[in-house]
Subunit: 418 residues, 2 copies
Amino acid sequence: MTTRNDCLGRDAHDPLAALRDQFDLPAHVIYLDGNSLGARPRAALARAQQVIAQEWGHDLIRSWNSAGWFDLPKRLGNRLAPLIGAADGEVVVTDTTSVNLFKALAAALHMQASDPAPAQRERRVIVTERSNFPTDIYMAQGLSAWLERGYTVKLVDSVEELPAAIGADTAVVMLTHVNYRTGYQHDMRATSALVHAAGALVVWDLAHSAGAVPVDLNADGADLAVGCTYKYLNGGPGSPAFIWVPARHQARFRQPLSGWWGHAAPFAMAPDFAPTDGIGRALCGTQPVVSLAMVECGLDVFGQTSMAAIRAKSLALTDLFIELVEQRCADHPLGLVTPREHARRGSQVSFTHPHGYAVMAALIARGVIGDYREPAIMRFGFTPLYTSYADVWDAVDILRDILDRKDYNVDAKRDAVT
Amino acid sequence: MTTRNDCLGRDAHDPLAALRDQFDLPAHVIYLDGNSLGARPRAALARAQQVIAQEWGHDLIRSWNSAGWFDLPKRLGNRLAPLIGAADGEVVVTDTTSVNLFKALAAALHMQASDPAPAQRERRVIVTERSNFPTDIYMAQGLSAWLERGYTVKLVDSVEELPAAIGADTAVVMLTHVNYRTGYQHDMRATSALVHAAGALVVWDLAHSAGAVPVDLNADGADLAVGCTYKYLNGGPGSPAFIWVPARHQARFRQPLSGWWGHAAPFAMAPDFAPTDGIGRALCGTQPVVSLAMVECGLDVFGQTSMAAIRAKSLALTDLFIELVEQRCADHPLGLVTPREHARRGSQVSFTHPHGYAVMAALIARGVIGDYREPAIMRFGFTPLYTSYADVWDAVDILRDILDRKDYNVDAKRDAVT
């Protein structure tokens, strides 16, 4: 049976252990919510100070050129690209995940609707999962409702139903690669192939994948993708999201949010929109520079390791957490929701408990910060850059104590956001 | 004839003079580009440090509740509202101006298309000015192209043509209240009445109005409005924009960017979108908190004065600039583009010069920071919170010197952004 000393021993030999020093984490906290808001890279404060005091305060408007503000979405996109199997010039960091998903979905529907083959043009269904992150479904519904051609958003109830749901009427399949609630990871290559075999396009949401699991968008045949920088990428609260448009689709990529940042000549002030070549056409308006600039501090840490090393530790941490919970909390009604199979697992572990919200509130009060998702799911995110094996031990130890002593308030009310 | 001493005398009696100390401006710079990027409120650095070190770094995910991150778009909207004649619960600070314009235009078209009167539902034209800020036109074109009902964006070439262009086919008139290039200010009340008399709706872009000139959206009968916080409101580079939906239109307000922040129950994780009541339905996705929080530092300064006081000084500054340029640079081919009539003038003064770009580059090199806009326009923004009468004198003195000595390089090439 694994002991705390075993965990300390694993930490002593952990090649990623030193990276924890690059994050500012409060004392007496075990932070298992990096899948909701990543921890703060120490460098982020100095970077923000530089942008605010020097670039904004001193250099003022000149910083659009001298500090490279205007190129920041593309420059950061190029830095992010290797983490998701994208090429140079295929990613921009901009806007929110929801807005980027709108662009990607609209572009994918447009590709189908403008296809030379008449049968392609008649496809009117967007397929996704009922368990997808709700905003993804909402954005698809919002877009569909505005297109008079008449699109339907079809929700499947399980992964197993996907193949049967994708057919000759399917325009786009929109999937979140790693499910926010269960931690289930789709097989991107097999699913993309399945979608393509049916003549549809596949749009991936990488919110819980980028920086969490190896992603190989080009090799796995994805069509378009979006994702988040404030979770595993540690970009800061609400930091701008990203969108990926592979080189092979860029010429056909059209999206309705046609703002001046996506124009071929943004400063010519011409009265007609003409999309720029390349990934720039996924841009729309002026970006929040301070929040955007800090994204680089998170990416800098990834530059010091590899997604392979991160994945190896992520699986070790989640395996350990499952093992310890099942051993040490065996008398309690905890139900593992996350797949045991490595290939199907993201970088989180979710357990149900009849009083899941109350137990999570008790954990948080004792410094173990995970979060809760309806229904009854306690969610624990494992971020290899700053989580140790001893953290896992200690988190389970506190969970066990709370459960054994029933030290939680079953009447606890949910906050607005957790 | 006005002398520099006269200007110093006016500064000594300027009730707004003390507010300059609340901004960090570099030495030896006369900053006349606050209409492009507002100067930095001194408080912004400390506010960002608080958000980054304490709220993000220490309190982590809990700050969504404890630091009020989730309510920030509405709270800042309520603080901004009095500056533009909006009521509590009618404004949110969120996304970019372009994205908000897309929402506002889409909502206005939807209001018309769902009107009980059949004639209203057939209106298919969006009227705007060819001289409008290009991204506004691009967003209208982008939206129109995606609506199969078939909308046309009609561009008028002058303000005088507007009445004739607005007719029974007009769904929406979209205007920027103060023109970015000329500084021309529309008569919001008269124009709104004209638009309504024709059965159309009017959407105002306040990018160069909010914090610059008194705006009274409700009293003047506007239908929807958007605007920018990083110009006269001094929110920081690319800080999130705002959108105003008056209480009377909120129940009918529908927009396609239906993300989870606009949902009636965002944490219920229901699979169908249901818009929340009130202004919240103009929200979409998670906002960049650090850039958003700093918007409050700019608004704090406005809380110490009034738009009436700001307007009085703005007109005095722009009058003085026009007077001094026309007196002291009378031998040079400068053409005033901005209206002399106070009611039609924003808070900027634009002059043409055959070598406008080169002259502006020379001014910037000598510390007078304005900017250049095609064709041949030198643009000078006057921000009463941190611009003195002596600044105006000194700027004109340097301009005169550059012109008299022809001390500019006519072959100067434009940077990417100025």
